[in-house]
Symmetry: C2
Subunit: 188 residues, 2 copies
């Protein structure tokens, strides 16, 4: 039963990451990714539009998680607290896939096209957080600004986390530290 | 003397913007841009690597201006004050080219590739601000975070400014307002 298995998306994402880590993004073909995952190219294209997109496989799920946490934050939470709750949940989810996340970051950073797409995904996530804040009754301009700075906090904590070779520190904890840093920076 | 004129870059940028506004980015060719500017394609490629890059013609100069203002901020300025001085100078420079900036924004927003490149340019500007702050002796993590949030403030003020059809409000003033908003958001 090797041709059938659950979670074709997950297997394709893992195969793509392994191959891109070994030989680089440009040198990896969709046919090779599909073969490594034990699937056909046709199956690949049922799940992903192109070779770039497979490296962003979890982005929609992560965004749904973040938006859900912003929505579920206590009624008394300020906009930045609600947004922070959202990115912390992303931190907890990524913490469980530390090796994957670190390897993926190295592949993304090595390629200009992938870095551009990563920025687009982060901008989309910022807009999604802003949308979730608006749903909580937060004014437009505050919602947008809060979404943007929450992503800045997340991005810097994430870079620190993947750059921490010893791996001693939790992403969620680094996010909270970055947030404190932001408060110190803006109050100064 | 129509073939020779100073500021070929500026003329190419204006011609590109006019053509892209009239018929869209995809429908505009380098040959047409060069012809509209009264120059040859060869001259175009002496100044710009491709058709996208001509729409980002002023980015390096703007970055130099911002970095200079961060460096020149008073010794007593906090990191966020120095970074704000940088983006305010960008605001003053753009204010003098309001029509150009508004038209350009419409062209950028209409095309996914251009939006991606715009995000890259903003990320580069954030990194340049962080670099200028490090030169002032600001610690790495604070410098990076401050660069990121200064760009968030700038981006949102810029969007508000180009979206303000009546054009009554100054970009530098909107930047200062966004900064106050950021302070309120993060202290909350």
């Amino acid at each position: 039963m090797t041709r059938w298995a659950p979670d074709a998306r997950g297997r394709l994402a893992q195969a793509a990451l392994d191959l891109c880590s070994e030989r680089g993004f440009e040198q990896t073909t969709v046919a090779e990714i599909a073969a490594r995952a034990g699937l056909t190219e046709r199956t690949f294209f049922r799940h992903f539009a192109d070779k770039r997109e497979v490296l962003f496989a979890g982005a929609d799920e992560l965004q749904a998680l973040v938006v859900g946490a912003v929505a579920d934050a206590a009624d008394t939470a300020t906009p930045i607290e609600a947004a922070a709750a959202g990115v912390e949940v992303a931190g907890v989810a990524l913490q469980q896939r530390r090796d994957f996340a670190g390897k993926r970051q190295a592949v993304i950073m090595a390629n200009a096209e992938l870095r551009e797409r990563e920025l687009i995904k982060l901008a989309t996530l910022a807009a999604a957080i802003a949308g979730a804040l608006r749903e909580r009754g937060v004014a437009d301009s505050v919602a947008e600004l809060t979404g943007e700075v929450a992503i800045s906090v997340f991005k810097l904590a994430f870079e620190r986390w993947v750059g921490d070779a010893a791996g001693g520190r939790d992403l969620a904890q680094l996010i909270r530290e970055s947030l404190r840093e932001l408060r110190a920076v803006t109050s100064g």
